[in-house]
């Protein structure tokens, strides 16, 4: 019960914040609302018992990416840019229409999938600590116990099954760093 309430609360918060983020005129306000959205999503992750993801959601998105955004907004001093020119009404109309159509199509597909019985499962809770202790009578310490969704479990997965993507991601980051440095250099000689 509490899980569902919390989920709706935080999910709704994320959704509302996202809507506000894309509709604010002030870029800083947009950024702040987006941070609120990140927190809401992090909370839904925690409700879904994906603790690690929740933590890095805050760490990476709120702590790094959005700070970078804010930094750039301030650097460019976009206060004057708040009065941005309106896009042609036709374009805006098509944009909103397309997005709404997408949502409708998605919801219809979701309903369709549900009718076909494809969604019989739900996000299930983790076993409690006591249950794990009961299920692993041979373990001598809590550290030895298999816990789903924790940093250790994800690390196991990431550094065994997904170690190549992990390394590739690091290379992508390196490329991004170089790209950013080169792009922001004042003059390329």
């Amino acid at each position: 019960m509490a899980t569902q309430v919390l989920y709706i609360l935080f999910g709704g918060m994320a959704l509302g914040a996202a809507l506000l983020a894309v509709t604010r005129k002030n870029p800083v306000a947009s950024a702040i609302w987006l941070v609120v959205m990140f927190f809401g999503l992090a909370a839904t992750y925690v409700v879904m018992e994906a603790f690690f993801v929740g933590a890095i959601q805050i760490l990476v998105y709120a702590g790094a990416i959005m700070v970078l955004f804010l930094f750039v907004i301030m650097l460019l001093d976009l206060r004057q840019q708040m009065l941005e020119g309106k896009p042609t009404t036709r374009l805006r109309f098509f944009g909103v229409l397309a997005a709404l159509l997408f949502l409708v199509v998605g919801v219809v597909a979701l309903g369709d999938a549900k009718d076909r019985g494809l969604l019989h499962r739900a996000v299930t809770p983790l076993p409690r600590e006591a249950d794990i202790v009961a299920a692993n009578p041979d373990a001598t310490s809590l550290v030895d116990l298999p816990l789903d969704g924790t940093a250790g479990a994800i690390a196991d997965e990431m550094f065994t099954r997904w170690v190549l993507p992990f390394e590739v991601a690091s290379v992508i980051l390196l490329g991004a760093i170089l790209g950013a440095v080169i792009l922001t250099k004042r003059r390329l000689t």
Binding site: L91, F94, A98, L101, F102, V105, G106, V108, A109, D112
Partner: protein, 667 residues
């Protein structure tokens, strides 16, 4: 067919197989010493410039090979039975297909190796005198060694794949050797001709190998190039029948494999390169056209005789091709004035004999003739070289004559070689050629067998005729040359005598068992213990007598015409059109020329027109114009507004989603 196959199947596997220790690896030594010599000569300029040093190295290399092989061969024979030496490594591994590299020295390969290295040694020593003073002698010996290496690679090869690789290497090194006098235009042309003609044969060979390969895979379940596996497939797995269920395809595979032999061993209709290859130095001709390159084709066919045996009709084709080659080459030889050309066509003719033997299933006879022929043909070529050397690079026989007294050693060895080639009892050639002709007596497996026998006898007569014609034109009468002739140095006559002695006696190892009524006089069949297949050679007294009479008759006819002719040839006037036909080489070369100049050029012209007008004008320029036009039409869509791009993208994506959803609903 089956009754023929049974004795074939029982051949082999009698010998002890040695796969470990120095003995097993010694063949590698034999193989790679010449390569090492070639590499050293290529890599070290001082060596290349000092011809004698390179020559010493090369001679030492090939002689080592000869000694090593001989020891390897006779050691186990002392113990009563032969041995097979096998040393292979996995070379290419692709999935289930394992291709090996290495050596499998059974008795056949051992004999062949001995022939190659033994005659090679003699020729290498001889070349020391012949090439004396040539500034590029180092290069010559380097290429020579490379050639020997390539040839040995074929001989010891345990599978088709390695054979093909070295097959091509032989092609390359023969190209290098034929074109040795590369500053001479005709030499370059001859090298090209040899190479291209061989490519035609090699292409068929490659197709044949692949056909056999797939068929063996079909029959045994394992894809393998290995000769033993193929032999097993043919004799025990019903390869001929299961060749995709078609005996026609089995024959085609055999003929395609034979195409390789056709190229290398210069069988009709790919024989045209061999006479031109005389452009190379005479030692090269001797090595290439007696013991090695042309023998490679025959050797390969003996090595994989089971491929031929897998088909019912292919042997007939092979036999007839051999017969035709033997006959037309003999007719061509009669009309030649160049002493080396005579020998070249003679080689063709003798190779035709060997091919006839292959067709008749007399593989031992083919191998025997190959061995004896290697001895006396090398001898004859070297004699011719000696003559050319003595007459200051004069090759035209009409400018020779009277050399009997001027070059006595050369004359005597030449006579031994001639008698041997002419096949007069009891010198080498007689035994082997008679064995081949004997294989046609009472042989019903070849369509038109009796006709081929008559053809063979006719060729025997012509052989005697053209050889004695050449002998009389060269050695009888008085000297007609422009420069004073002289006998060759000892370093050249030495090998001549060695080969002459070999030619005198090598025939006696193959006296058919029934000759003296006692068993086991046919040492050759014993030597070829694990490869001798089919029935033992049988001496037919009437045939022996007939062929000897024909040969002597041919010789006497030549003597009557040419002994006093002093270089003038009365035959063209007497024979007229037939002479022209033979002298023009049966118009085969002209036909090929026409094929290339007219037919191929015509096709090329059509292609050129097509490319120019359709592909470039139509397709390429059309594409560019079309792209351009569509770009012109579409560039209005490039508004440069990111929002518009994104929106159209999203709209498109939503449409795709809708389509998918509707499709899902409809299903």
């Amino acid at each position: 067919m089956a009754d023929l196959l049974l004795p074939l199947a029982s051949a082999g596997h009698a010998a002890e197989v040695v796969t470990e220790g120095f003995k097993a690896w010694a063949p590698w030594l034999v193989l790679f010493i010449p390569l090492g010599v070639a590499f050293l000569v290529a890599a070290m300029p001082p060596l290349r410039k000092r011809g004698n040093a390179a020559a010493a190295l090369a001679i030492a290399g090939v002689a080592t090979g000869f000694i090593l092989t001989t020891v390897l061969y006779f050691l186990p024979l002392l113990g009563g039975h032969g041995a097979t030496y096998e040393a292979v490594v996995d070379w290419i591994v692709v999935g289930d297909v394992v291709i090996q590299f290495g050596s499998r020295l059974d008795s056949l390969a051992l004999i062949m190796t001995m022939v190659v290295t033994g005659i090679g040694t003699a020729i290498f020593v001889y070349a020391l005198g012949y090439m004396h003073g040539d500034p590029a002698m180092g290069r010559f010996y380097g290429k020579f060694s490379l050639f020997v290496f390539s040839m040995l690679g074929i001989v010891i090869s345990p599978n088709f794949f390695q054979t093909f690789v070295f097959w091509e290497l032989v092609g390359v090194s023969s190209y290098l050797l034929i074109g040795y006098y590369w500053k001479k235009h005709s030499a370059g042309e001859a090298a090209k001709k040899a190479f291209l003609t061989n490519r035609v044969g090699d292409f068929g060979f490659l197709l044949g190998i692949l056909m056999v390969w797939t068929a063996v895979g079909e029959a045994t379940g394992t894809l393998s190039f290995d000769f033993e596996v193929i032999r097993h497939a043919v004799f025990e797995e019903g390869y001929g029948a299961s060749f995709f269920g078609s005996s026609w395809l089995a024959g085609l595979g055999a003929i395609l494999v034979f195409c390789g032999c056709m190229g290398k061993s210069a069988q009709f209709p790919l024989h045209v390169w061999l006479p031109d290859a005389m452009e190379g130095p005479t030692p090269v001709s001797a090595l290439m056209h007696a013991a090695t390159m042309v023998a490679a084709g025959i050797y390969m066919m003996i090595r994989c005789f089971f491929v031929l045996q897998g088909s019912s009709w292919a042997p007939t084709v092979v036999a007839w091709l051999g017969g035709i080659t033997a006959f037309i080459a003999a007719t061509m030889a009669i009309t030649q004035r160049d002493i080396k050309k005579v020998l070249a066509y003679s080689t063709l003719s003798q190779l035709g004999y060997m091919t006839m033997a292959l067709g008749a299933g007399a593989y031992t006879a083919a191998m025997f003739h190959l061995t004896t022929h290697a001895c006396f043909k090398a001898l004859l070529f070297l004699c011719a070289g000696s003559v050319i050397h003595g007459c200051h690079h004069e090759q035209d026989m009409t400018h020779m004559g009277g050399l009997k007294s001027l070059m006595p050693s050369t004359y005597r060895t030449w006579m031994i070689g001639t008698v041997s080639l002419t096949a007069i009892l009891p010198i080498a050639g007689w035994w082997s050629k008679d064995e081949i002709l004997g294989s046609y007596v009472g042989n019903a497996s070849i369509a038109g067998g009796p006709l081929l026998l008559i053809l063979g006898l006719a060729v025997a007569g012509m052989t005697a005729f053209y050889m004695f014609r050449a002998t009389h034109m060269t050695f009888s009468g008085s000297y007609r040359g422009h420069h004073p002739a002289h006998e060759s140095p000892k370093v050249m006559t030495g090998p001549l005598w060695a080969l002459a002695i070999a030619s005198l006696f090598v025939g006696f190892i193959g006296i058919p068992d029934n000759t003296f009524g006692t068993a086991h006089t046919n040492i050759f069949e014993h030597l070829l213990h694990d490869w001798h297949v089919g029935e033992s050679a049988h001496l037919h007294v009437w045939l022996a007598a007939l062929s000897t009479v024909i040969a002597i008759g041919g010789a006497l006819l030549a003597r009557a015409i040419y002994a006093k002719s002093e270089g003038k040839d009365p035959l063209p006037a007497k024979l007229g059109g037939i002479w022209t036909l033979c002298n023009e080489l049966w118009y085969v070369d002209r036909f090929y020329l026409w094929l290339v100049r007219t037919v191929q050029q015509g096709i090329a012209n059509v292609c050129w027109w097509f490319e120019r007008n359709v592909i470039i004008q139509g397709a390429i320029n059309g594409l560019s114009q079309g792209t351009r036009a569509s770009g012109e039409a579409l560039r209005r869509a490039q508004s440069g507004r990111l929002g518009a791009y994104v929106t159209s993208f999203v709209v498109g994506a939503v449409i795709v989603l809708l389509v998918v959803l509707v499709q899902l609903q409809l299903r």
